[in-house]
Symmetry: C2
């Protein structure tokens, strides 16, 4: 195995470090975050940091790096309280990735790509029309992370829209049925196929090993 330690991280080329550290946590979710400015300009940005926080209440979190392109997203959410999450699937991969380009706040990524806006249930932020799994989110709270000045933002799920083919009888969404993507590192994409669902686990039946 190749070994790196903290001294290596400090010495290595910046892009090498970004690629390495962004890859090492494993596969990431691939979402487009949709927002609208108070002036009415739509914004769309690819995020790989959307994380499950809890199911009751239904909460998701995402990480903001304050100095990056997604600053428009952050500002719009803080001003309006609303955003959407739209799973990225195979047909829109290139357009989704292009939203990482640094467009000015007065430019809508919907205009710069073939992605189309979609409005549902009077929710103010734009959904991505083609996306097979769309979520309307309400801003709840945020935490400034001292370790590196990033922000964890937490939102509540207000509406969930899923293509019928994804939904199984027990509530499980089979993401691979809609060719939903996962992100490897900064710029790698894969379209997984579900391999297996494993049963709920209980301790093996030896003496004295249960809680």
């Amino acid at each position: 195995m190749t070994h790196f330690d903290q001294r290596d991280f400090q010495k290595m080329d910046r892009l090498f470090r970004i690629n390495l550290i962004n890859s090492c946590s494993g596969y990431k979710s691939a979402n487009l975050v949709g927002t609208k400015s108070p002036e009415g300009v739509s914004n769309l940005a690819v995020f790989s940091s959307v994380t499950h926080i809890g199911s009751d209440p239904a909460l998701l979190g995402l990480i903001f790096r304050p100095t990056t392109v997604v600053r428009n997203t952050y500002n719009n959410i803080k001003k309006t309280g609303s955003f959407t999450l739209n799973q990225i699937h195979e047909p829109v991969l290139e357009d989704a990735h292009h939203t990482s380009a640094k467009y000015a706040a007065n430019i809508s990524e919907f205009d710069a790509t073939n992605l189309e806006e979609d409005y549902r249930k009077n929710f103010p932020a734009p959904f991505v029309k083609a996306s097979p799994l769309k979520i309307a989110m309400g801003y709840l709270e945020e935490y400034s992370l001292k370790a590196n000045n990033t922000i964890l933002m937490i939102g509540e799920i207000k509406h969930l829209f899923v293509d019928d083919q994804l939904l199984q009888k027990d509530g499980f969404l089979n993401l691979s049925k809609a060719k939903i993507a996962t992100i490897n590192g900064l710029d790698g994409y894969a379209i997984p196929n579900l391999k297996t669902r494993l049963a709920y686990q209980r301790p093996k039946n030896t003496s004295q090993n249960t809680v």
Copy 2:
């Protein structure tokens, strides 16, 4: 599309809600967290919430639900300051998933499965021998999330061990070269194949659209 709103979430069967909300954020990382208690008992637990926080310094975060099986993991980290992250790959899928069973604190999941302990660079917490991507982590800080009483814990990467076949010249780790898993929902697993790496994006060359 099927539509659910907050009233639906409240009314639905608990297991249906857990499956639905755990699936909707997209694909998740699949890690085994290795710890050791002050009394010397090793612990291993599957986590799907490991998230990239930053690359300089190199930081990762994970979410703890205080009332679950992973309480042993949390206690060990708080007492010792050390833990490991070990990517789950195809050959160990069943054993890795079995670590979600609720074993008592005096039982090591290494004894309850075929997974073997591995010690490197005098780091006190156990690695998973078979894992192709292992990380030694030091506890840094934590945030109690008011929205649902979960905890975001942040750690710094102290050592990174990667199978040589994963590492590309620019630092990118091709996770699919080692058949590393991703998690769909609570209990679904996929073994993705890298489809593409997309180039760094700049705004399209129309007038007035750059920052």
